[in-house]
């Protein structure tokens, strides 16, 4: 024993599979400037070379069980330390097997307590084991949610900013110097905390026993945090599943609940539970389900065994000399935790969005330029200089053109394929969530996934849908150009090529036609399409792509498919041949693992979007027309001739004589030897698919007539292929042409440029003149008179002459008293044959029974919208069963004779009576036994409850639901939304899974390199 001063220091080195660090630790102990008086090692069943290393260093070793905790190990060692004479301050210096103190550590620790007899424990500044500038701890505390609180930023660089002696709640046991008598007085470490948080508990107990704890930065130790960083197994008793996080969280909760005041306990429980749930969700998002489980299990294991906690509180109560609130000054305030979380989160996002350019190329010359700048007088930048930049000029030109072309589109938009937008996103959400759509005779069709996307996006305009739709169409050309330009920059650095090409893409026939005809889905595809190449790298060697990227592709395709389901058809067209190629490769090399890896990835890309878009996508399997149906009203696309030249045709499209260079560029690109060739092959294939599709005529979205398929989606991607091909060709050929004599390439390039320029000029001229008079325009007119909406859910047969390609056509539909709004055509049912016949006979004057038919379907009014052929009005006047109720500037209204209503009760004697309800789902009284007919389309989810029992349901001759009423009483009519809710849940789950898979994966600590952690 050597006593160098009045202090006797016994170092207790606890080892547990610490062979990796022990040599350094032992050396550090041996080289202390203030020699250690005694060193005792406790080995807790190490299975590596730890014992041998210790013994070779001539350190006496106490062997303990492998499941022995840190506190118990220290207690074993303390028992072995002989008592020192009076006047000698006995200290125990706790050393982890992964913690190497600096040579002056002990000396500095003792200096810190030299003049401070009240200090029971003092700890060093802990730095990283590998990165010795990485500040780990300068004292430690615990947050209200159980988090270990150091008050430091993540990976904080030590530059002396925290230097000094700090009064802290506690210090880490790694390198902590503790007065022996006080250690024994407070009972040592709690044996319930075999690992983790024992230091905080001990410090807390010291504090309430009236002692002080210091952290001095003069003393330094280097800590590998092997247990925390999962560098060794956790074998201590009570460590469920040997999971460090689980033990850490459990112990954190234990410390808080064992030491806090009683009155704080409920609040702490809530806080612990809430934070555990939040962290669990976070870990799930980071695809770390194990950690998520740890969070929940930690709280659960504590709650199911409250006895240990109760005993711990009793023990602490006996030894407490001051109030537990004394530690409150060391508990970090909640705002600081929130602030810290926010800073970490924003830092993480910032680092993702704006990655730091680590290669800073600051040269000597640049510093000289700075000096020069001081000498050179400042010049005012001329605006004309900015305009000379092709980017500025291009975007400015497109802005001006868009503003002129949109002069009829300032305000709430409708027309073409676009119905009027609801006033608020809330109404659009209703369309998405409701199980029964009150459109026409009603439908339970699945709402397409673009509805919630648009509703979410309208948050940019505070939920004002009309404003959002108008803004979207206004800025769409700029977004299209921007998106294309971002892509084209990867193929050419020459802005004089990429900007005009992006401009032409934004002014392409498909872009103009989509805007003019209100087809926002195709515009979305035009904006998104340039992002496709980001996902298609390694397409052949798809196994090189991570699952995260695969799900990114799936989610991206789901986003496109939400607006245009034909994307899934295109996906199939691309993936099916790829799988065939994979299969051929497998046949040759028999590498099953590789084959399966590719197949799984390709099938995920194909199937996952389909699942995310369910149930709308599933319904499309039954009604394949939906694959080609764009959102909104069903209006016709163009002819084969138009489609061949990448013009989708239809209302608002550019005239046939305005031929775009898309096809020419694609054909020329086919004969090049660059990557333009491959791209143009895709383009030609898409144009071929568009041509074939344009021969299809489908009936959808509440239009019984068949309309030519709109090929906008095919052509949008084909146009992009042509744009990219053109840029690649021009970028490559430019250099060749400059240095070579004139030959066919010059002529070809000149022809291409001339063709593109002529198209650009003429299409722009057309867009701002004749094109501006497009079907899509702002307007506030209404179809339905306001008084017809006064009776809620009243059905009205609306007849109207529609101008169709210059010819007037008579069309009809059943209204619920109001015009249609966004999303409603997509869920509109087809018409019923009986109603079609009744409407036809109304027009030709033969409809003697029309009124009876309409009454049977609950159609109460017939409304002929002006302007209308007066002979039709006279014809309806001449028919029986209709009595005119009004003739206004909006049109003429007749009331259909008879008992007409949503719910018609037919008594046993055959008399009919309309049952009125104040609102859907409200109780209604039936007068007796009979039959109840609901004038909504038949659906299995329609139910009528009387006295809590479901009435038997049948389908009547008109195809309407009918219920047998056995007795008088109150009934409730409802549409059971269970199926819709189930589908919504399915969709949300599918989306969440894909979304979580796309998120950057968190790494378990053991997966992180030691050098990175400490």
């Amino acid at each position: 024993m050597s006593v160098s001063d009045k202090n006797f220091v016994t170092a207790i080195l606890v080892s547990h599979d610490g062979g990796s660090w022990l040599p350094v630790v032992v050396a550090a102990l041996a080289s202390q400037t203030r020699p250690i008086d005694k060193v005792i090692a406790v080995d807790t069943g190490s299975i590596d070379s730890s014992i041998r290393l210790l013994e070779s260093a001539r350190i006496s070793v106490i062997s303990a069980e492998r499941n022995c905790g840190f506190g118990d190990a220290v207690a074993l060692a303390v028992q072995e330390i002989p008592k020192q004479p009076e006047g000698i301050n006995e200290w125990i210096w706790l050393i982890h097997d992964d913690c190497a103190p600096a040579t002056s550590a002990l000396e500095k620790l003792l200096e810190a307590v030299e003049e401070r007899p009240q200090v029971a424990m003092v700890g060093p500044k802990l730095l990283g084991w590998h990165d010795r500038t990485h500040l780990l701890e300068v004292g430690v505390s615990i947050a209200g949610n159980g988090a270990r609180w150091t008050g430091l930023e993540e990976f904080e660089y030590d530059q002396g900013q925290h230097d000094g002696v700090h009064d802290v709640l506690t210090v880490s046991t790694a390198g902590a110097l503790i007065r022996r008598e006080i250690f024994e007085e407070v009972g040592g470490f709690d044996s319930n905390l075999s690992l983790f948080r024992d230091d905080i508990d001990f410090g807390w107990r010291l504090r309430v026993a009236g002692h002080a704890v210091l952290a001095t930065t003069e003393a330094v130790a280097y800590h590998a945090q092997a247990a925390t960083n999962e560098r060794r197994s956790i074998d201590v008793e009570g460590a469920l599943l040997h999971r460090p996080r689980l033990l850490d969280r459990r112990n954190a909760a234990y410390v808080l609940l064992a030491n806090s005041s009683w009155w704080m306990t409920p609040w702490l429980v809530i806080q612990l539970l809430t934070s555990a749930l939040i962290r669990s969700a976070g870990f799930l998002l980071a695809k770390l389900p194990g950690y998520a489980g740890d969070e929940i299990l930690a709280i659960a294991t504590l709650i199911i065994k409250p006895a240990a906690l109760i005993n711990a509180r009793k023990e602490r109560k006996n030894k407490r000399l001051v109030s537990a609130r004394v530690v409150s000054t060391y508990i970090p305030p909640r705002w600081s935790q929130t602030k810290n979380t926010f800073v970490e989160l924003t830092g993480s996002i910032r680092s993702k969005l704006i990655p730091v350019n680590e290669v800073a190329s600051i040269s000597v010359l640049q510093s000289l330029e700075e000096d020069e700048d001081l000498l050179v007088p400042t010049k005012n930048r001329q605006w004309i200089e900015i305009l000379r930049k092709p980017e500025a000029a291009g975007y400015l030109l497109l802005t001006v053109i868009t503003l002129i072309a949109s002069h009829n589109r300032f305000g709430a938009l409708l027309g073409g394929a676009l119905p009027a937008a609801q006033n608020s996103a809330h109404e659009l959400w209703n369309t998405y969530f409701e199980s029964w759509h009150q459109v026409g005779l009603g439908s339970s069709h699945a709402t397409p996934a673009w509805v919630p996307i648009v509703a979410i996006m309208s948050a940019f305009t505070f939920g004002k849908l009309p404003v959002f739709i108008s803004l979207f169409f206004l800025i769409a050309p700029l977004l299209i150009m921007w998106s294309a330009h971002r892509l084209l920059q990867k193929f050419s650095n020459n802005s004089f090529i990429t900007i005009p090409a992006s401009f032409l893409y934004a002014m392409s026939p498909v872009a103009i036609a989509s805007t003019n005809s209100g087809r926002f889905a195709t515009i979305v595809i035009l904006i998104l399409a340039p992002q496709i190449p980001r996902f298609t790298s390694n397409w052949k060697l798809i196994e090189l792509n991570s699952w995260r990227k695969i799900y990114s592709i799936a989610l991206f395709l789901a986003l496109c498919g939400a607006f245009s389901l034909v994307v899934t058809v295109i996906s199939l067209g691309v993936i099916a041949p790829a799988i065939y190629v994979d299969y051929r490769a497998f046949k040759q090399d028999s590498n099953k693992e590789l084959f399966l890896s590719r197949i799984y990835r390709r099938l995920t890309i194909l199937i996952a979007p389909f699942l995310i878009l369910a149930p709308y996508s599933f319904e499309a399997l039954v009604k394949p027309a939906r694959f080609f149906a764009e959102p909104g009203l069903a209006i016709s696309g163009g002819s084969i001739g138009q489609v061949l030249f990448a013009n989708p045709g239809g209302a608002g499209s550019i005239p046939w004589w305005l031929v775009s260079p898309v096809l020419l560029v694609l054909l020329v690109s086919l004969f090049t030897s660059s990557s333009a060739r491959l791209i143009s092959q895709y383009g030609i294939s898409l144009i071929s698919a568009a041509v074939i599709s344009s021969t299809l005529a489908i009936s959808f979205h509440g239009n019984s007539d068949q309309v030519t398929v709109w090929t906008g989606t095919f052509l949008a991607v084909a146009t992009l292929c042509a744009t990219v091909s053109g840029v690649i060709i021009l970028d490559r050929i430019r250099g060749v042409l400059v240095i070579s004599n004139i030959h066919y390439r010059h002529i070809l390039a000149a022809l291409l440029l001339a063709f593109a320029a002529i198209y650009g000029l003429t299409s722009t001229a057309w867009a701002v003149t004749a094109g501006a008079d497009s079907p899509l325009r702002s307007g506030h007119s209404t179809v339905m008179p306001a008084f017809l909406a006064a009776e809620p859910h009243t059905k009205i047969l609306v007849l109207r002459e529609i101008n169709y390609e210059g010819k007037k056509r008579i069309e009809f539909y059943v209204s619920r008293g109001t015009d249609i709004f966004l999303g409603e055509p997509d869920v509109a049912p087809g018409q019923i044959q009986e109603i079609e016949t009744a409407a036809q006979q109304l027009i030709d004057g033969s409809g003697i029974t029309s009124s009876k038919t309409l009454a049977a379907f609950g159609i109460k009014y017939v409304f002929v919208k002006k302007p209308f052929n007066s002979s039709i009005v006279q014809t309806i006047d001449g028919l029986g069963g209709f009595s005119r109720t009004s003739a206004t500037s909006l049109g003429v209204v007749w009331r259909v004779s008879g008992a007409v209503g949503r719910l018609v009760f037919t008594s046993l004697d055959g008399s009919q009576r309309v049952l009125q309800s104040s609102e859907p789902g409200a109780p209604i009284t039936v007068p007796g036994a009979g039959t109840l007919t609901l004038s909504e389309s038949f659906d299995r989810s329609w139910q009528v409850l009387e006295n809590g029992y479901r009435l038997p349901r049948a389908i009547n001759a008109q195809g309407l639901p009918q219920f047998d009423v056995r007795e008088a009483g109150e009934i409730i009519v409802l549409h059971d939304g269970t199926v819709r809710r189930a589908w919504l849940s399915f969709q949300i789950i599918a989306f969440t899974v894909a979304f979580v898979m796309v998120l950057p994966a968190g790494r378990r600590r053991k997966e992180i390199a030691e050098e990175e952690l400490a």
């Binding site: 459109v439 041509v691 539909y813 109603i835 033969s846 006279q874 009595s883 005119r884």
Partner: protein, 436 residues
Amino acid sequence: MIAKRPLIQISILALAVASASFVNGSAVNRNFSESYPSVVCPPTMKGLNSQVSVASSKVQFQNLENRSSKTVPFKSSRYSLTKSSVVIDAKGITPVVWQSKARGWAGGVICAGPASTQWFVGGSSDVTTRGHLLIANSGLSDAIIDIGTFSENGKQPIKSLTLKSKSSTQISLDTLAPGDHLLAVQVTPRSGRVNSFMIDERGAGLRSLGGDFVNAYSSPALDIYIPAVPHQILGNSKKTNTTHTLRILAPGAVDTTFNAEILTTDGRFIPVKLSSRSIQAGRVSEFAFAPDISAKIFAVHVSAQEPVVASIATSITSNGHKDLLWSTGSPALSPMSMAIGGLTPVFAFSGDSISVRITVTFASGKKVSTRLKGTDLVTWRAPDNSRIITIDSTNKKTFAAAIITAADGSGFIPVQPGSALARVEVPNSNIRVLNP
């Protein structure tokens, strides 16, 4: 292989275009329903005889006031009508009604489908008038009708009346603009299946001054052709030309000037009195003229700078008693058929270049076709025992009317279809109708 790829791609595209062109069909299915609306004949007022000429005895009809919707055949091609108006399923062959009052007057009118608006230029509200406006609602719903009256004193307040389904009413002309001499009446149904007819009957004390149906216009026009105006030369020794009176109204808000050109078989001219005459808007004007021509029928072409309606009243002597005849404008002639059984009308065709092919169907069923050619005016008398005349073809801008002379007087019938083929497109169900 690589060199072949572009060609394969182009071949695929060509194949797509070829196959698409082969299978491509019209996506737009347009179905039409064709039918002739039922026509309505005027009711028969007390003291009048009324016969309707129809295409055959199998033509179905029903009395207007019959609440049943059942129809029965006429069982005769010329049928005597009773009080009630009749609704005839004429199948495109326009029936003609001939009404007469013994030694009083006679007049004809075509039975027609319901009209959205009808203009009558004729009649009077002065002390001589005994005329009526007859209104029938053949629809199964009540009709609301506005009656607008113009006179030499301007526009009168609109009178509205409600007419029950399947009923008719008669309104005395003297109630429309009491005391005024010159009437022009516009009947506009706001609802209902409405037909109206005007009878302009005049008398002085017990002495009849004649009467006639005033045929209706559908709308005012800048050019009006009145294809047949009878012209009597009174006295054998001293030629005295009949005086005709042109009644004209510009119902718009702007005064206008007009020319009235007389077309005869001998040529055309504008009488001095009818050249560049001004008329006030909204006021009915009359201009008397007595052309010195030898023809028994002439036509008048009225051209104005603002839309006008016009008729010509002619007082003629028939079998020793005076009768009044209103010649009105006709629309341009188009292929059509008209039942004229029991009548022997003289048809007048007017126009710059006339070429009309007519087929006559006799009572026996025999058919004879003839072609009429000429300029300005061509007249043609239908053979005896004619049941139907059919206009097979005609030049553009040819106008026709018929003058019928009978024992009790003469009448004027415009040659126009009473019910045009209604080709109604079968409506499609499309939610687009609910989008503003």
